[in-house]
Amino acid sequence: MTGQKEISEKKYPPDVNYRTVLKGLARLDPFFHLLMAILLITGLMIDLLGPWLGGWLWSIRTIAHGYLGALFILVFIVYIVQVIYSKKMRTVLTATNYVDFLFYIILIITGMTTASANKPWIDVIPGLFHALSPIAEFTPAIHTAVTYVWIVFSTVFPGGILHGIASVYLISHLKKKSKMERS
């Protein structure tokens, strides 16, 4: 019986509690999407509720949109490398995902450039600032507009936000159904 692995049977539906959810989020894929969701929500908060919330948004902009945005860039790089090396090419095989990745890249570059204006990144990577500074004038506009274009795209096209929400609904619906059948 050499070379044969015993595969444990997976429980369906799985146990869901706070511990399992947190454990799941520690994985790269959900962590990547969690960061992305935080950045999207905080960005929308700033743009849509800014005139009312004003200075209350300072920490949200600085920490949740700024520092987490910087972390997102690093996670994005690791994510792309993992997708390519693990040969999970199905992740990028839909047109929606291709365009999504293109949007992420634009948002990352414009976000970094906007953040670079007047300091931060200059101290760490001066060359980067000089490379990005010619587009600094346009980056806030591109960053904001591309976010909304991305929302339209991922709402209307399959594989986007609504597909995700629908999948979550279906899974929870199936779970309820199986519970009822068991009882």
Binding site: A117, F138, A141, Y148, V149
Partner: protein, 252 residues
Amino acid sequence: MEYAVLVDPAKCIGCRACQVTCKRWNNRPGEETTFSNEWTNPPKLSFDTYTHIQFKLEHDETTGSTKWRFFNWRCMHCHEPACAEACPVSAITKHEEGPVVVNINRCIGCKFCVSACPFGIPKFDPDTGKVDKCHMCYDRVPHKEPACVQSCPTDALLFGTRDSIIQKAMKRKEELNGYVYGDIDNKPLGGTSFIYVLDAEPSVFGLPEVGEALPATVPVIKYSKWLLVPAALGGLAYLVSWRRRRMKEKEE
């Protein structure tokens, strides 16, 4: 009533009294100075330096003579400020009297104003995470002239109602056979509350060519949120079709 300041670089002697007075009135700390060929100190505008005299030594090769030019950089206090339009939290306000003021308590340090300003005036401070700039002493105007104007020993800065300042600018323009930047010859962003009368072309002083209308990037920031409408409609259509499909599946 709208007020304005006339800046006449030809009268400036580079004493930097305006810089010092500005710091004292606004209680801003001094900055480390640097040695450079131009003697400009501090080298540029910053979160703590609202106004700044740029020194420029011009050499005329035909006559062999040299000439100092001193130029007062600060916020121009535009009539339609791009910074205020770009600010997502309405932290920048154009006052009726002319000043464009940053409400530091509302500022979230997003730097949209830094990118929007064609003159590169608002400055970000990484320590406080906020942006600030000259506010034209809105806490003094109109009862008192701005602190920098009060300190100028040569009347290179003059304060008054906008109409009176424009009249003085036109008169001085004739004397100098020069240009008026901020009104008359060039009205960046609808005109500015700091009006410069120049004895040479604006580009000699490093002033950019700025159109009367807002830069195209500002309306994009402001109105792109309307894209949420097609997103919501698209989402609704998706949900309706999805529900129909589910109902059909159930019936079958």
